[in-house]
């Protein structure tokens, strides 16, 4: 587990510990995969840092590399469309973090 700034939390990262508010009420359970919407809402309620699960297993890295290779292959011929290049950048970032 590691504690990171909420600005550095990637979509689909698993929450490492239960997240509770100041009154002790549960906000999100440990293990929840954080969606983009969740991260935005947490930021809005003033959460600055999150403890997330470490996901450095070699299996996951290999799968991610395969997905990145497939992504780059899909976009191999895309050279000059700003919209497609942006979609590639977004998908690449989602897989890379």
């Amino acid at each position: 587990m590691k504690t990171v700034s909420i600005d550095d939390v990637a979509v689909n990262t698993a929450l490492g510990i239960d997240l509770k508010n100041d009154a002790g009420s549960m906000i999100l359970r440990r293990g929840t995969l954080l969606s983009a919407g969740m991260i935005t809402r947490l930021r809005k309620i003033g959460i600055k840092e999150l403890t997330v699960a470490s996901i450095d297993s070699s299996e996951l890295s290999a799968e991610r590399e395969d997905l990145l290779d497939a992504l780059r292959f899909r976009f191999k011929k895309v050279k000059d469309s700003p919209y497609l290049l942006e979609l590639k950048r977004i998908a690449e970032k989602r897989l890379s973090v």
């Binding site: 983009a36 191999k76 919209y83 977004i90």
Partner: protein
């Protein structure tokens, strides 16, 4: 004009060869006919669907999919009909049968169809364009022509797949070179035969073209964008490995800026996270 006539003749010839294709089941035909009649009530359509338990379950499963976002579970078909309206119900009822064809085709393809349906829904809702429920049915059906081709024109399908892979081009580009028409035209041609409404047929027919139709332009542009985002994110499998072109007409029609794509892509990925579990596959 001559080229268009040739394309129509080719489509008729190909559709004519689909003689093994089963017709829409009688219960679905009956519901579609009811919806076509002016005097039909929502109650009557709900009752007709409810009288076919398998169909009723499928309609309830679809309306309760997380992407429609209804706060409470919809437990009666009558309620589903009221919520969605007759046009959407007609497409969903026909889709329920077509989906059974898609499921048998490939899990990856089923994943792509569902993901595009959900993407169409969230894009329509986020941009305030069209009716999300209606537009989502377009995503579900947009690649129907591929399923039909694979199942009923296997030699042509194999040749198209081989060419698309060898040249690293899109499936529809390979289809155009080999068949002179695309799965979009085949799927639309079939939907015409099954009497689905123009608002469903036209966007599907145009979803790979570099122009928008004269009607249902918004719906077509949303479907095109949904397909591109789903493919960029690698959600499901479409039979080819190359990204389709982004036609500027999409941006013009939807008043879409490059910077808008991050929010839309995030929403599309969010609403699709449960699909592998939904279709019973770990990776597709």
């Amino acid at each position: 004009m001559l080229a268009k006539r040739k394309t129509v003749a080719k489509l008729d010839e190909l559709l004519g060869r689909l003689d093994k294709l089963p017709p829409l089941p009688k219960s679905i035909q009956r519901i579609n006919q009811m919806i076509d009649r002016r005097e039909t009530t929502l109650d009557a359509v709900g009752q007709e669907i409810a009288s076919d338990p398998a169909l009723a379950i499928q309609v309830l499963q679809m309306v309760n999919s997380s992407f429609y976002g209804y706060a409470k579970e919809v437990s009666s078909v009558k309620h589903a009909v009221v919520l969605l309206g007759l046009n959407v119900i007609r497409t969903l009822v026909s889709s329920s049968w077509i989906t059974s064809l898609v499921k048998g085709f490939s899990l990856g393809f089923h994943h792509h169809s569902l993901a595009t349906a959900r993407a169409s829904f969230v894009i329509s809702r986020s941009l305030g364009v069209g009716e999300p429920e209606q537009i989502s049915t377009l995503g579900l059906l947009h690649d129907l022509g591929k399923v039909i081709m694979c199942r009923y024109l296997p030699l042509e399908f194999a040749a198209v797949t081989e060419l698309a892979g060898r040249k690293h081009i899109c499936f529809h580009e390979a289809e155009q070179r080999i068949l002179g028409l695309t799965h979009a035209a085949i799927g639309a041609g079939l939907l015409v035969k099954w009497n689905l409404p123009d608002r469903t047929i036209i966007p599907i027919e145009y979803h790979h073209r570099d122009e928008l139709p004269k009607t249902y332009e918004d719906e077509t542009a949303v479907l095109m964008l949904a397909n591109l985002i789903v493919r960029a994110e690698g959600l499901g499998y479409t039979g080819d490995e190359a990204m389709p072109q982004f036609h500027n007409i999409i941006a013009e029609q939807l008043d879409l800026k490059v910077d808008d794509l991050k929010m839309l892509s995030d929403e599309v990925c969010d609403c699709n996270r449960d699909i592998p579990r939904y279709i019973g596959a770990k990776m597709v």
